[in-house]
Structures are given as structure tokens and as C-alpha cells.
């Protein structure tokens, strides 16, 4: 079978964070960890090309995945594999997106990353196998990825025994009894001594370690971001008031303040009356400019990024966060003020 393998700029040998903005490309044959992987896959399978993209580029341009999958198909790829991404969040997200895009295009696909990689949720049901935490576990991780690849190539499904990780899709269905009746039944079961019965297994949440304080605010570039449904008046991007599927960015250049008539909030989760009487209440542009003039902060970044945080799924919120982080890192930001509502 002809395979295309995805790695990020680092594992392609192009450099670290300084090269994270590199755009997508395809190179002939196996590259980096792909060489070892090719050996593990044996003679019946060939890595015909390696797909590569910088982590920041991938995080801020979700289209990279479909683009690379299309190019891989042109090279005759019959299956796409990605990683291992270990615990690297942007790389994991890129691997998950490549695998998901391949599945959507009808190709079998497999990614590898650590179970705590925040990109795991992006796989949208496509198979992911476990890897170690860091590249020190490269050998074991590649062996598991290779074993999974061989099994998938043989047309079999992967299970937890193969190291498959990631969310299994849950689907709606009608129960025999109402939720109220089931709650009473569950309560009696619990009182009867069963301490485990439940209908929703609790999700594990990753916890984020806050970044260290910036050394000198007067030297730092600040960005304003918000989940307050903050948009230019008239909401030209049609940002949703609830269950947002996207985020928006708009220029703040030449603006001293978020004036009525120029900006508004379309958030559906609170009364926007006071926000719209003074949009600076959602995006504190007036105070930020004042601090910029006083020299209390180095400089304010020329755009804000925003979405609506109302009924947003954790998966979408996590994706927005990773995309924002990649964007802002690329833009050379040192500090971000996120106003929540």
C-alpha cells in the first residue's frame, strides 16, 4: 500500500519555533521518523511522500489539512498516517486534522499522540493510537503506530488493545423511560449500594499551567481577545450569538476607543444593553490605549481576536484557544488580555 506520512517542521528537520510558520508542502519519500517507520512497515508498504507543515501555520490555517490530503492523493496515497505528536498540542492538533481530513476524503487514516494531547479531540472519530510523552519514547511510539497501520491496512478496526485512544462518538437515541424516571431509578440503584452506575462517564479535563508573568510590561506587546461576542457594528462576519463555530479578527489600527456605532456585542448569554452602551466594557480598548500612551505597556497589537462564549462546546473552545495561541505567537505577542463575560 502507498502511504503518505505527516510530520511537523521540527521532525522534518526544518527547525523549531522559529520555523513554526512554514506552510504545507509534500516531499518525496520518508523523512525524519518516517524512515524508521518505513522499516517497521516492511516491504509491502511504501511511504511515497512526507507531508510537512509548520505547527503555527497548521493551527491558524485549518485548510492546510485538506490541501495536503489532496496533494497526497495526487501522489497515489492509499492511506495517511501522522505523528507521533507526543504531548505537543499544535502538532497533535495538526496530526488529528490531517487524519480527519483523510477520513473525510475516504482514505483510511491513523494518527499517534499521547492521550493528554489537547489535539486529540480534533480527530472527530478517526483512529488515533497512543504514543509516549516525549520523543524519548520515539521507538515504542513508532512501533505502535506501525502495528496499527498494518492492522488498518489489512482492513481491520483498531481497539483499545491496539493502543487506540480518543473519544468514541456518542449518538442520541430514545430511551424506554423518561429522564426523570431514569434519574429516580439511578438514585435507587445508588442507594442500593452500586457506586458506579451512570449514563455519562465523566470526561478528563487537561489543566493548563499559567504562563510565567511577563518580566516588563513596558516592553511587551499586548493583544486584546474576548469571548464577549464583540463584533464591528452590523456583525459583518455573522458571528453566532450562541454555539459559535468560528472566531473573528478585526483591526484596531487608528482607533482610540471602542465607540458606539462602530462595535457591538452579539452575545446571546447576557443582556447586551450595557455592553452596547459602551463597547469598551467588553473590549477595553480605551484603557489599553491610555496605558500604551503612558508607556505602562509596550504596544497594543493591531487586531483583536474574538468569539462568542455561549453554549460553546469544549472541543470548539479548545480549538479556538489553540488557534489564537498560534496566531499570537506568530505575531510576536508577549501578553494577552482575555475578557470573559
Amino acid at each position: 500500500m502507498k502511504l503518505v506520512h505527516y510530520v511537523n517542521q521540527f521532525f522534518a528537520g526544518m527547525g523549531g519555533e522559529d520555523s513554526a510558520g512554514t506552510g504545507p508542502e509534500l516531499r518525496d519519500g520518508a523523512v525524519g521518523p518516517g524512515r524508521k517507520l518505513a522499516g517497521l512497515l516492511g516491504d509491502e508498504h511504501e511511504i511515497v511522500a512526507t507531508a510537512i507543515c509548520g505547527d503555527d501555520y497548521a493551527a491558524s490555517h485549518p485548510d492546510f489539512a485538506a490541501e495536503l490530503v489532496a496533494q497526497a492523493r495526487e501522489r497515489g496515497a492509499e492511506m495517511i498516517i501522522a505523528g507521533p505528536a507526543f504531548t505537543s498540542g499544535r502538532y497533535g492538533m495538526a496530526c488529528a486534522r490531517i487524519a480527519a481530513a483523510a477520513s473525510e476524503a475516504g482514505l483510511p487514516a491513523l494518527a499517534a499522540m499521547h492521550p493528554e494531547n489537547p489535539g486529540l479531540g480534533e480527530a472527530a472519530g478517526t483512529a488515533v493510537v497512543e504514543s509516549g510523552q516525549t520523543a524519548r519514547q520515539m521507538k515504542d511510539s513508532l512501533e505502535r503506530l506501525a502495528a496499527g497501520t498494518l492492522k488498518l491496512a489489512a482492513g481491520e478496526q483498531l481497539t483499545a488493545q491496539d493502543g487506540r485512544i480518543g473519544p468514541v462518538a456518542r449518538a442520541n437515541r430514545m430511551a424506554q423511560h423518561s429522564a426523570a424516571e431514569r434519574a429516580v431509578a439511578l438514585l435507587l440503584t445508588r442507594l442500593g449500594g452500586d457506586r458506579d452506575a451512570t449514563e455519562i462517564p465523566l470526561p478528563d479535563f487537561d489543566s493548563v499551567t499559567p504562563a510565567a508573568p511577563i518580566a516588563d510590561a513596558a516592553e511587551a506587546v499586548f493583544a486584546l481577545v474576548t469571548e464577549g461576542g464583540f463584533v464591528p457594528a452590523g456583525n459583518p462576519d455573522r458571528l453566532e450569538s450562541a454555539r459559535a463555530s468560528k472566531w473573528v479578527r478585526h483591526s484596531l489600527d487608528g482607533l482610540d476607543s471602542a465607540e458606539v456605532g462602530e462595535f457591538e456585542s452579539v452575545h446571546g448569554g447576557f443582556s447586551t444593553q450595557w455592553a452596547n452602551a459602551d463597547p469598551n466594557r467588553i473590549l477595553p480598548l480605551d484603557v489599553a490605549r491610555e496605558m500604551e500612551r503612558e508607556g505602562a505597556i509596550g504596544r497594543l497589537y493591531g487586531e483583536y481576536l474574538g468569539t462568542t462564549g455561549n453554549g460553546t462546546t469544549v472541543a470548539d473552545a479548545r480549538r479556538f484557544g489553540m488557534e489564537w495561541a498560534a496566531e499570537l505567537r506568530q505575531a510576536g505577542i508577549q501578553a494577552v488580555i482575555l475578557t470573559a463575560t
Binding site: N172, A175, L188, L191, Q273, N310, T313
Partner: protein, 420 residues
């Protein structure tokens, strides 16, 4: 003499609904007197009201549903139902209450902050909504030209309960279909049966997102306890129009499914208390209210409690914190929650899960899409703003907009499970 505790519910079934000259109830047939209902809805904030009927099985879609109310009355003029709004703000839940089971009065149309809310009276979405199973008097309106939206909202809320009481008044003298005795929780010995409470979180997020208890918001307050039968008499009235699938309209408070399910198993347990809690918007107050509610439940001698919520992900915290605090107090806790797992159902199902407690019933994934077929007639709103399509079209919508489909008061049978 001490008043007799408990409520007698006198049930009149509604099997047919139409509009006519005079309001009457006759052996299951409810006729709505158009002129008298218009009089009850008259308000400076409303320029015009329109009345329509929608019954189960009709090819009708109601869009922009706000609140829905079950007709009930304790006597002429309502006799005290909907205290603080229609009746005087005095405790209810005792004596006799006539209810028109199988009927509802609902308002449908535009209000700011009111999210899409759809009831299909037939088709695949009908089994998901309690209001697709009732004969509905649907009230549409045109606001007065300079009316403040808050006044429009208040006029509709007052109007709905007036109309609900007026319709039930027509059955005060009718032969009932059933007479149900609802005991009041009290000091009676419980024969060793577990004492179970219901913890009812009420949304308190200000205008168009608030719930009224005896006519007032619980915002800023601490948990309190009322008798379950006070719900039957309309002590809790909804003014909350966000998150349509998770909405708990007045109708579901009056017929509270968890309370009903607990009453139905009175041979195995004792319905011992109903605890009402505000849902504060900030973490510190969520912690305070949750800890206080758990202590209140422990103080009431509860062995177990079922916790419900109203609203989206923010309100997950109000349930999760209470489940944790209740378990710490030695009260076995079960939560009812909707999942918000993304369109494909692979995302984390809860926004704020409990840290320790684990017993949760699922009312289904909010984000899953379903296709609603085209219908002959639409009420409430002509277009579905979310899709910018005519309301009568075939629509692909998330379950999140199907009115009450995932209400954690537990009416529905929708749930979610891992696919094979």
C-alpha cells in the same frame, strides 16, 4: 383548626381544542372564547394579539416559543393560582386545583435574547417536545410601536397566566376525569423509606433570562424550600428564553416530571423536600449557593437528592458543584444534564463536570443535528433566523433548538450513548 396539608388535583382531560364565541369545557372539548381571551391579553405594550390552535399530529411548526403554561384554577379569577403574578403573593399548594391536562397556552414570536425554539406538532421532532403532545392555544402578537421589550415580556407573562386560569375556570363545575391526592412532605414517619429531595436550579441571569417564584426572582438570594404541590399551583413561572432545548417552561414546573416520578414510587421512597436555588453567574456565588443547598438538604434529613438545571454550559457548574457538596454531606446525589459533545458527538460531554460525584442521567447531545421535514403551516415566526429560511421549509437544526427536548426536569426520553 389546622389547615389540611396537601393538594387535591382535579383533572380534566382535553382531547379537542377550538376557538369560539365563548370559553367552555365539555367532556374533553375545550373551546376558547376569542373575545374574552383578547380582553385578558389587552395591554399598552401589545398593539395586537392573534390566537391560533395547534394540536398533536397537525402539520404545524411553532417557532420562537417563549413560555408555555398549563391551564389551572382554584376558583373564580384563578382562586390564588400563579401567586405574585395573578393571585396574591401568599403560599399555595393546598386545597383543590383544577387542571386541564393535555392543554397548554403558549406565546410564540420575537423577543430580544430569545433563542430559536421550535415545536413540531408532527414528524420526527414531535416525540422530543412535551408541547407537541398538548392541544395548544398559541398567542402571537405585534408589540405597540414605542413599547419597551421588557414591558412586552411582562404583558405576555401576565397574559399567559390570566388566560390559563380563565380556561381552567370553564371546567370548575365539570365532572373530573381523575382526582389525585398529593401529600405534603411533613413530619410523618417514613417507615424507613429513603427521604428523597429535588434540588431545582432556577436561572437568574436578568431580563429575559429569569424565573419567578411568587412573582420575584431568586437572584441574589440563598436556597429555600417549598412544598412540591406549590409548583402545581404555579408558584414558579418562567421568564427565561435562552437555550430552547434546555428550557424549563412554566408548564414543566407545574407538571414537574421528577416530582411526578418520585410520587409514582412512593411505595419505595418518600418525596421529602423541594429545594429552590438561584443560578448565580459568578463562581464564588455558585460555590456559596451549592454549599448552602447541600447543608439545607442534610438539615432536612434527606438521604438522596436529584439535581436539575436550566441553561447551557454555565449552569453545568450549578449542578456539578451541588452534586459534589451533597455527596460530602452524605446525601446521595443524582444529576440530570444535557451533553454538549459537538456535532459528531466526540467532544467532552460536559462543560463543568463534578469532581467527585458521578451519578448523571443524560438528556442527549445538544449539538447533534436532525432534519425536520417541511410543514404546511408555521406559527410564531415566519422565518427561522438561525438558518435564514422560511419556517415552513425542511430544516436541518441542532437538537439545541427543539423546545424542551433536553429539559433536565426530565420529561423527555432523549438520551445519548456510545455508538458501537
Amino acid at each position: 383548626m389546622q389547615a389540611e396539608a396537601g393538594l387535591t388535583r382535579v383533572v380534566h382531560a382535553v382531547r379537542e381544542l377550538d376557538l369560539g364565541e365563548r370559553t367552555s369545557y365539555d367532556v374533553g372539548r375545550l373551546t376558547v372564547g376569542e373575545d374574552s381571551v383578547r380582553d385578558l391579553l389587552r395591554d399598552p405594550a401589545l398593539a395586537e394579539v392573534r390566537l391560533a390552535c395547534a394540536s398533536p399530529g397537525d402539520s404545524v411548526r411553532i417557532v420562537g416559543v417563549l413560555d408555555a403554561v398549563q391551564p389551572c384554577s382554584k376558583g373564580p379569577g384563578g382562586g390564588g393560582v400563579f401567586p405574585g403574578l395573578l393571585g396574591p403573593a401568599l403560599p399555595v399548594g393546598r386545597g383543590e386545583t383544577h387542571v386541564l391536562r393535555g392543554a397548554a397556552v403558549l406565546a410564540a414570536g420575537y423577543l430580544p435574547r430569545a433563542q430559536e425554539a421550535v415545536v413540531d406538532m408532527s414528524g420526527p421532532a414531535a416525540p422530543l417536545s412535551p408541547l407537541a403532545a398538548t392541544h395548544n392555544l398559541v398567542i402571537e402578537w405585534t408589540p405597540a410601536e414605542s413599547a419597551d421589550w421588557a414591558d412586552v415580556d411582562a404583558a405576555l407573562r401576565r397574559g399567559l397566566v390570566r388566560v390559563a386560569a380563565h380556561l381552567a375556570e370553564a371546567a370548575l363545575e365539570a365532572e373530573p376525569d381523575a382526582v389525585e391526592q398529593l401529600a405534603e412532605p411533613g413530619g410523618a414517619a417514613s417507615d424507613g423509606k429513603p427521604r428523597v429531595g429535588v434540588v431545582l436550579n432556577l436561572q437568574t441571569q436578568g431580563r429575559f433570562k429569569d424565573v419567578f417564584v411568587y412573582g420575584r426572582s431568586l437572584s441574589g438570594g440563598l436556597p429555600t424550600t417549598i412544598a412540591p404541590a406549590e409548583l402545581d399551583d404555579g408558584a414558579v413561572v418562567s421568564g427565561q428564553y435562552g437555550h430552547p432545548a434546555l428550557k424549563n417552561p412554566t408548564y414543566l414546573q407545574q407538571t414537574h416530571p421528577v416530582v411526578a416520578a418520585l410520587r409514582a414510587r412512593s411505595d419505595e421512597l418518600e418525596l421529602a423536600a423541594l429545594v429552590l436555588c438561584p443560578e448565580p453567574v459568578d463562581q464564588a456565588n455558585k460555590e456559596l449557593v451549592s454549599a448552602h443547598a447541600a447543608r439545607l438538604c442534610a438539615g432536612l434529613g434527606l438521604d438522596a437528592a436529584i439535581v436539575t438545571k436550566e441553561g447551557g454550559g454555565n449552569a453545568d457548574a450549578d449542578v456539578s458543584l451541588k452534586l459534589d457538596r451533597l455527596e460530602e454531606e452524605g446525601v446521595t446525589a443524582v444529576g440530570i444534564l444535557a451533553e454538549m459533545a459537538g456535532r459528531d458527538g466526540t467532544g467532552p460531554p460536559l462543560v463543568v463536570p463534578p469532581a467527585k460525584a458521578t451519578a448523571i442521567v443524560s438528556t442527549g447531545n445538544y449539538d447533534e443535528r436532525m432534519t425536520l421535514p417541511a410543514v404546511q403551516r408555521a406559527l410564531g415566526r415566519e422565518r427561522v433566523a438561525l438558518l435564514d429560511q422560511p419556517s415552513t421549509d425542511e430544516l436541518e437544526l441542532p437538537v439545541a433548538v427543539i423546545y424542551c427536548a433536553q429539559s433536565t426536569l426530565g420529561w423527555g426520553r432523549l438520551t445519548c450513548a456510545e455508538t458501537a
